[in-house]
Each structure stands twice: as C-alpha cells, then as structure tokens.
C-alpha cells in the first residue's frame, strides 16, 4: 500500500534508469556466460596443457584413503593381543624344547 501510494513510473526513465538496469543485467549475463564457456572448455584446455601441467594427486583424497587404511584402536589392540599370545606360545614352546 505504502509502495503503491508513492510510486511514480516516470521517475524510472529519468537519469537513464532503464538503460542502467538493462546494461547491468547484460553485463552480469556476459560475465557468467563467459565463465560457463570457460568451464565447458576447461577439460579440453587441461588436455592440451597436460605436459606442462600434469594432474596433481588429490592430497585430501590420498590422506582420507591412507587414514581409512589405518586400523582403529580396537583392531590395533586385538592385533597386539594376538601377536603377544603367539610370541608367548613360541617362547613357551622354545623353553620346553630346550
């Protein structure tokens, strides 16, 4: 209601308002269209420059993968227990043999 009461469309044409809005929107579109085209061409650009700029291994992924290979504490404890038991058995057997 307040907006409608004080609105005067003729003011939009003063000071090149319409032209600024139209040009502004066009520039925003131009920038993002160029980004779109660049992204679309990026895989081909990377192929072309592969000798100079080879693919970098993803350190985050590598870190994640290596972390996932590490056993957790419970598994480490179990491995340790089995190792200790087996060594103890071997020591006991060696003792008996001697």
């Amino acid at each position: 209601m307040i907006l409608a009461a004080v609105f005067d469309a003729s003011r939009m044409f003063k000071g090149e308002g319409i032209a600024i809005a139209g040009t502004g929107l066009l520039i925003v579109f131009a920038a993002l269209v160029l980004i779109t085209l660049f992204i679309a061409a990026l895989p081909r650009i990377l192929e072309a420059v592969a000798i100079v700029l080879p693919e970098v291994p993803d350190r985050h992924a590598a870190a994640d993968a290596s972390e996932s290979l590490l056993p957790d504490d419970a598994v480490l404890a179990a491995i340790g227990f089995v190792l200790h038991s087996e060594l103890q058995k071997q020591i006991d057997t060696a003792g008996k043999m001697s």
């Binding site: 307040i2 003011r11 600024i20 809005a21 502004g24 992204i39 350190r59």
Partner: protein
C-alpha cells in the same frame, strides 16, 4: 544534591525516546528469534545486541555512539562505513566454497545470472519511489541476497541508508525459507518439481586450482568494480584449492570470518539509532527488499524453465531459486521443496551450483552499479 540532579539528567531514562524503546525491542526480538527459532543466530545475535547498545541515549559531549567522532564504536564502525569488513568476509566465503558442482555442470551458472534480475528491477522500483539513483542502486543490491555485498555497495553509494539496507538484507536472508517456497510452487508444475537431474561428474584438482584465477580475470575484465569483492573471494578459494596454503585457508574460513562477522553484525546493529533508522525511507526499503527477494527467486525459476525448452537433459526448475546467493539457505530450500514431492530426489548438490554462481553474479552486479553510479 545538584551533582545528583546533574547526574540524573545524564541517565538514559531522561533522554529515552519512544523510537529508542522500539529499536531496543526490535533488538530483543532479533536475539529471541536467533536463540529460540535458530534464525541466522550468527548474524541476528550480534545485530540484535548492537541495536540495543546503539539505542541507549548518549550523554551530550561524550563520544559514545558510532556516529560520534572519536568514539570507540566509531573506530569499529570504520570497517563498515569504509567497506573494509565485506571483502574480508568474502575472503572467508571463498576459503569455504567448493566450486565443484558448478564446474561439473556449467550451464547451471546461468541461473545465478538470471536471479540478478531482482537487483535491477528493484533498482528501477526504488527510482520509481523517488530514491536518488545512488540510493536506488544500494537498495537494489538487496535483491542479490548477499549481506556483505549490500553493505559494501551501500557504504559506497548511500552511506546514510546503510543501517536499513543491512538489516533488510540480513532479515530477508533469514526469511528465505519463508519467502521462496510459495513462489517456487506457484511457478512450477508437479511434473517439473519431480525432474531428477544427472549426478555431477568428478572434478579434477587442476580444474579447481585454475578456476579461481580464470573466473576472477573474466569477471573483473568485464566489471572492474567487482575487483575488491571477487578478488578476495577467489583469493580465499585459491588458498583452499592450491593445497599448499591449507593453514591460511583454515584461518580465513574459521577464526577470521568469525571475528569480522562479530564486528560487522554488532556495528550494523549499533548504527540503527532510532532517529536515523525509524523513517519512512526505511519502511520503503523493507518493502522493496521483500519484493526484490521474490523477483530474484522468480527470475531464477523462470529462466530454468526457459532453458528447459532447449535442453534434452532437463533442469529441475526449483534449482533456479538457488540463483539468489543466500548461501547455503536457498540451496537448502530447493532440497526441501524438491523432497516434499519426491523424498528420494536429492537436489542440494545441483542447487549449490547456481547458489555460488549467484554470489559471483551479485558481486558483478554490485561492481557494475558502483562503476555506473559513483
């Protein structure tokens, strides 16, 4: 006795106005909404507390408020009034943004451009309401749904309107889950809302490293006014993606952005003194702000429908609503509305592409308006 009388005259009770009381109440409501309803607490708590602090009547002759020369608050407000805080926030945003979804589906970038129609139609609306071109530009950028960009541009074009513009921008960002869904449902059919999109492809590390530099060059060659905001954002993103500056990226996206957010929110709140904030202009700005969010949402959705006329792999038009930047709230809204129709349709990843494109689009729009109107 006269000293006591003199002291009593300096207390807030004597010089408190109804306007101050209303603003203190608004500050309390902001804090309540943040704590009780979880509406943008990281912003509303500092802004709400700032509004309370800024509306305690000051003593004549003492430099206390953000508008008093030499006051501590004025020094903190310097970062707002000179547009220093917004680029620092953009640095943090860049360091936490993953452009992978955008890189995997570049056509969705256009939706981020389409949503900027809200900025320019609001600019025209503000002109129609009698604002000067500079003020109209600062008000229009509310449609970009980007708080730091709104503050940056209004500090450059219309510093007097900074308070209402910042409050409107952040308030409507908090209200994205309320404003967007009805417009999205109104402009799409059920069949369109059920469209499933192909999962995004894997993006290589090299692509992510090259993108920030290339995108910065493209945008700022076209709109040099966006150098400050986009420069900081893409710099932050390069810190993240280069894989060799992880410590800097981590600081930018955690401690640094938090410190700047606290200062920015508090100072914006403290600048909302009743005599400068409770005006007819502020009411008009709030009206235009709501309109701009609605128009931006509609622009994104309708452009997605328009693109579908030419595409074989259809886009779910709901994704267009994420073209208003408001990261990541508008993408979450897309996911929520999409899942109301099909609980197994996951649109969040797709919506992040126009969402981050919207951030770039609104910064470019701000750069254009700044260049043309200053």
């Amino acid at each position: 006795m006269s000293i006591l009388q003199e002291f009593m005259n300096t207390t807030g009770f004597v010089s408190m106005t109804w306007g101050n009381l209303i603003m203190i109440l608004i500050g309390i409501v902001f804090i309540f909404l943040a704590i009780k309803k979880d509406y943008e607490p990281l912003l509303l708590v500092p802004i709400g507390m700032g509004a309370i602090v800024g509306n305690i009547p000051t003593v004549p002759g003492m430099a206390l408020s953000v508008y008093d020369d030499g006051s501590v608050l004025q020094y903190l407000y310097f970062g707002v009034s000179h547009g220093i805080y917004p680029p620092l926030i953009f640095l943090g945003i860049g360091a936490m943004t993953d452009f992978s979804t955008m890189l995997s589906n570049p056509r969705l970038v256009l939706l981020g451009a389409a949503a900027q129609v809200g900025v320019f139609l609001t600019f025209l609306g503000a002109l129609g309401l009698g604002f000067s071109p500079e003020e109209a530009g600062a008000i229009g950028i509310i449609g970009g749904a980007d708080g730091p960009t709104s503050i940056f541009l209004s500090s450059k074009l219309a510093p007097k309107l900074l308070g209402p513009i910042a409050i409107a921008a952040y308030s409507y960002m908090a209200l994205v889950p309320v404003i967007q869904p009805p417009i999205m449902k109104l402009l799409t059919s059920r069949d369109e809302r059920l469209i499933r999109m192909k999962p995004p492809r894997k993006v290589s590390t090299r692509e992510k490293m090259i993108f920030p530099v290339a995108a910065f060059l493209i945008c700022t060659m076209i709109a040099p006014g966006a150098i400050v905001l986009l420069g900081m954002m893409f710099f932050g993103n390069l810190l993240k993606e280069s894989l060799v500056t992880e410590r800097l990226a981590a600081t930018a996206r955690t401690a640094m952005i938090d410190i700047v957010t606290v200062l920015l929110g508090f100072c914006v709140g403290a600048s909302t003194q009743a005599d400068t904030f409770l005006t007819k202009q502020s009411l008009l700005i709030f009206g235009l702000g709501a309109l701009s969010f609605a128009v931006a949402t509609a622009g994104g959705v309708l452009f997605a429908k328009f693109m579908n006329l030419f595409l074989t792999d259809k886009i779910n038009p709901l994704v267009g609503a994420a073209g208003v930047s408001a990261v990541p709230d508008s993408a979450r809204v897309v996911q929520m509305v999409g899942q109301q129709e099909d609980p197994h349709n996951f649109l969040l990843m797709h919506a992040m592409a126009p969402n981050v494109a919207g951030v770039i689009g609104s910064a470019v729009a701000a750069g254009v308006l700044w260049a043309v109107l200053s």
